[in-house]
Amino acid sequence: MIEFLNSIQNSLIYKNFFLVLSGLDNTILLLLISLPLGFVLALLFALGRVSKIVFLSRIIASYIFIIRGTPLLVQIYLIYFGLGSVKFIRESFLWYALKEPFWCGVIALTINTVAYGAEIFRGGIQSIEKSQVESGLSLGFGKFLLLRKIILPIAIRKVLPSYGNELILMVKATSLVSLTTYMEMTGIARKIMAKTFAPVEAFIAAGILYLFLNFLMVQFVKYLEWKYNPHLRLNN
């Protein structure tokens, strides 16, 4: 038994696991900024998309179209390599953020998730029954109150499963930021591979951690669904 434990401790996967684990905080840091920011902006964009101001709606529609039609890698590279090559951006205050791979990653991930999220929320907002809005209006709700008390809660609750999907895609998307030299889990796994020439062990260690992260995300979304759908709970 002890021999078996020792062999595990000496195995490459075990050692790599802790090395990759040291990149977990960088991955989570990316998510901690881009996900909440993406959520708020996505809601605003969705509201703009369904608003009656045609101009605003068109602009947001084309933004969504462009972002959803191009790979995230192109967006990350455009922000990291592309914007950095423009002279007046290098001389402006933006450069403080854009010279760091971390902030480039955050900006790219946020831009990406806002487009997908806005489309998801738009679906939720448009699927609200008219009668619910009308009953709110008949109670004398103003526009803002209607939004806060009726439209947003119902819409967000409805789209939780698909937004959860988007959250998981975002967890996976953080691995692309490693291509801008940012050392999160995939970046570290790649470095280990370059050092030890043992690709399978390095990437399996990273894979286990990503699976764990996604598992947590699924549980979080499940909890939110349970919390905000009290009428659907089987046993109270």
């Binding site: 790979p71 995230l72 890698l73 967006q75 996976k172 291509l179 790649r190 990503y210 699976l211």
Partner: protein, 235 residues
């Protein structure tokens, strides 16, 4: 800032290189989508036959691949694939060094990823077929083979087309990750060109526009197919 003159065809610009790269992206997408659909059919079959072991393997495969970043899967297959193939070849007594070419690895890697998404779509559309239809076909004396090709497949295709269209878009965009293996597709080409010309913005925007064209056009194609396959259905 944006150097249009670098995008002309011929030796002065990168137009023809980008055209070839676009075709390469399309080729990888189509090959891996095809292989992915094939893998997906096997996965769905493993999930719906009443066998615990195959179901467990299929569920394990789809859960793991969908829970792990695409880039990691590509790295794993790119760096680990050769070793696997060589160890298989050793079993058959072939001891020389084998190196898979980039296109093969790219196709396999993207197919493995896209198959997990396709399998969910196909499974859902298979389950949408009412049992009565299969029973009716059996009552007519059709064998398993013709039930699959004449009753199940046409309906699965109709139900699955919108979902498969989505998977196609995802697959198309995932091919950009293949650039890390050195296969010259749109993304790799734009990196090469921008390194030579020191103008990343030009070539990355070109890449974005090319991807946008590909996704838009294929979106149109799928919409036409959907209309075609849902003939006789009021949708």
């Amino acid at each position: 800032m944006f150097k249009f003159d670098k995008l002309v065809f011929g030796d002065a610009g990168w137009g023809d290189e980008f055209l070839i790269a676009t075709l390469m992206t399309l080729l990888v997408s189509i090959l891996s989508m095809g292989l992915g659909l094939f893998l997906a059919i096997i996965t769905v079959w493993a999930k719906i036959i009443q066998n615990r072991i195959t179901r467990f393997i299929a569920n394990f495969y789809t859960t793991v691949i969908r829970g792990v970043p695409e880039l990691l899967v590509i790295y794993l297959i790119f760096f680990g694939g050769n070793a696997v193939v060589m160890s298989i070849a050793k079993v058959f007594g072939y001891n020389k060094y084998i190196e898979l070419n980039a296109l093969t690895i790219a196709t396999i890697a993207i197919a493995v990823i896209s198959a997990t998404y396709s399998s969910e779509v196909l499974r859902a559309s298979y389950l949408a077929i009412s049992k009565g239809q299969i029973e009716a076909a059996r009552a007519l004396g059709m064998n398993k083979f013709s039930i699959f090709f004449k009753v199940i497949s046409p309906q699965v295709i109709r139900h699955a087309l919108p979902g498969i269209g989505n998977v196609w878009q995802i697959t198309l965009k995932d091919t950009s990750l293949i650039s890390v293996t050195g296969l010259v597709e749109i993304m790799r080409q734009s990196r090469i060109s921008s390194n030579v010309e020191h103008s990343p913005l030009t070539f990355l925007i070109t890449a974005a526009i090319l991807y946008l064209c590909l996704t838009t056009i294929s979106g149109r194609v799928f919409r036409t197919l959907e209309v075609n396959y849902s003939k006789g259905y009021s949708t």
